[in-house]
Symmetry: C2
Subunit: 309 residues, 2 copies
């Protein structure tokens, strides 16, 4: 669950290093490296999922272009998307804020309004947090969800021959970020975590993760975790987006998942289309081909995309 | 569990506002307003405690005076102190970092070294986190602990006539911050969370909290939560510290607790002295007197203390 912005800057060794340092303990089913950590409470029929996400001014949002409500919504949506990716139902969140000198009551009010609108809709309780002062607005959210014991979806469960699927259409958030308006922008600022789909996939999918950093990078991660390679065709492209945006643009928060070929996947889940885009195969772990050509894991670099606008 | 730096700047309405907005839900035993939130997993004999704490460069530590190891240790110690205050045993932590431009691998290595030294000693697993880039180094830690079902200590359980106790001697951290050296400085940079004491107090104390913002402010909070007032004598003073530092200096991370007069409290718990400093009484909720004179809740202002050094 240590996320990978640094990894893309050539500092992937930090994630591995922290993982080695972190160790393990009774009750801790899964630690660093997936969308959520898994904790198994003694005697409970449910496992607990935990995910933590930073939202940093200038990196994940800009005050000039994102409303306070958008920032609050997005903060929670990112955490919920991790819960969805593991098949969980959200329970509560903790929200810590380092306030910038410009942060006023009106802005904070809007931030919580946006966050709590999504919280109510998804039955996520705001259970606490911390408030301090910093130089840029920084929010850290922890979301806790539950899943029936042993049923959490992971990245590493795919098997050779499994079909690869994505939900929805990709590239909308990258399109929105580039245009600053339209349906893509709405997708960018108000992503919809695929919670119903995640629960539906619990006993159907072999592996799942959310698309936060771009299909090319995230599929590579799923392949690495499953020690397999993948062959895909072009995924569904968000109307108006380019294929490059669909392949490498981040923050779509759709689900990427695999299922055995015998599992008949419906065409949609609660209105969200499900599309088969390829097949998992043996071969060099992490290698992804698109129409039989190598697909580089360009993924999504928050800092770069924002600086280029 | 929303902490109170803003409260001291006259923005206490935010804590109340967020608390009202936050609502409640099944399994959520206690939300905003205590040291930890309490979650009761279905079917488990244990409740889970959650606390979140920010560590912000320039507010909670300074690069010029605090080593990376100190910052890492302190990050975890603050969270563990909240777990101790509620009688819990720590289980795991999630650590999110917004890295400043100056943050290099060597510093980060030291940060984790300090954090993990305390983690190993207290059997706290590092279970995940997030990494991003910001303008100042900001860390948010979430610590999860367990406590036998229904036995968590809270702030609001004190009754009139209960004896008031503190552990250890107070003012050491404020002394250390003022001097920048000596035993006070060690207390300031390497606080020892009172986990054994917290567990010992589970069925003995009626209310407990940790002393993070100074006795005068924290005792007022305990009184408000218990709807009582308090009469105290001077607490034990850390060698070299002033009475003002012991009363109003923060970050001692000792425990403040109350117990019925019939409970015989030992003089020490695992080498940490326990001292009776007063009595809870009816009267204006939140009012605290020292030697029968009103004690103002001056507490501890991180920003101000650091700016004055």
């Amino acid at each position: 669950m240590v996320k990978h912005e640094l990894a893309k800057s050539g500092e992937i060794q930090w994630v591995d290093r922290i993982r080695r340092l972190a160790g393990n303990a009774p009750g801790m089913e899964l630690g660093i490296g997936d969308d959520c950590a898994i904790f198994r409470p003694r005697g409970s029929p449910e496992d607990l999922l935990f995910t933590t996400d930073l939202l940093i001014e200038g990196t994940h949002f800009r005050r000039e272009t994102h409303s306070a409500e958008d920032a609050g919504w997005k903060t929670l949506a990112r955490g919920l998307s991790d819960i969805a990716a593991m098949g969980g139902a959200p329970r509560f969140c903790l929200v810590s804020l380092a306030l910038a000198p410009w942060t006023d009551t009106r802005w904070l009010d809007g931030f919580y309004r946006g966050l709590l609108r999504l919280a109510r809709r998804t039955r996520t309780v705001l259970a606490g947090g911390d408030i301090g002062r910093g130089r840029v607005f920084t929010c850290d959210i922890v979301v806790c969800g539950t899943v029936p014991r042993g049923q959490a979806l992971r990245r590493g469960g795919a098997r050779a021959g499994d079909a690869i699927y994505v939900s929805g259409a990709l590239g909308g958030s990258a399109l929105g970020l580039a245009r600053g308006t339209g349906k893509g922008w709405k997708r960018h600022v108000r992503p919809e975590p695929r919670l119903a789909l995640g629960r539906f996939l619990r006993r159907r999918a072999t592996a799942a993760m959310d698309l936060s950093d771009g299909l090319s990078l995230d599929l590579r991660r799923l392949c690495l975790a499953s020690r397999l390679s993948a062959r895909i065709e072009p995924p569904p492209v968000f109307p108006g987006a380019t294929l490059a945006q669909a392949l490498h643009g981040g923050e779509d928060y759709e689900l990427l998942f695999t299922a055995p070929p015998r599992v008949r996947m419906p065409r949609a889940c609660e209105g969200v289309p499900l599309t088969r885009i390829g097949t998992m195969s043996r071969g060099r772990p992490g290698a992804v081909t698109l129409n039989d050509e190598s697909l580089p894991p360009l993924g999504y670099d928050h800092l770069k995309l924002i600086a280029n606008r």
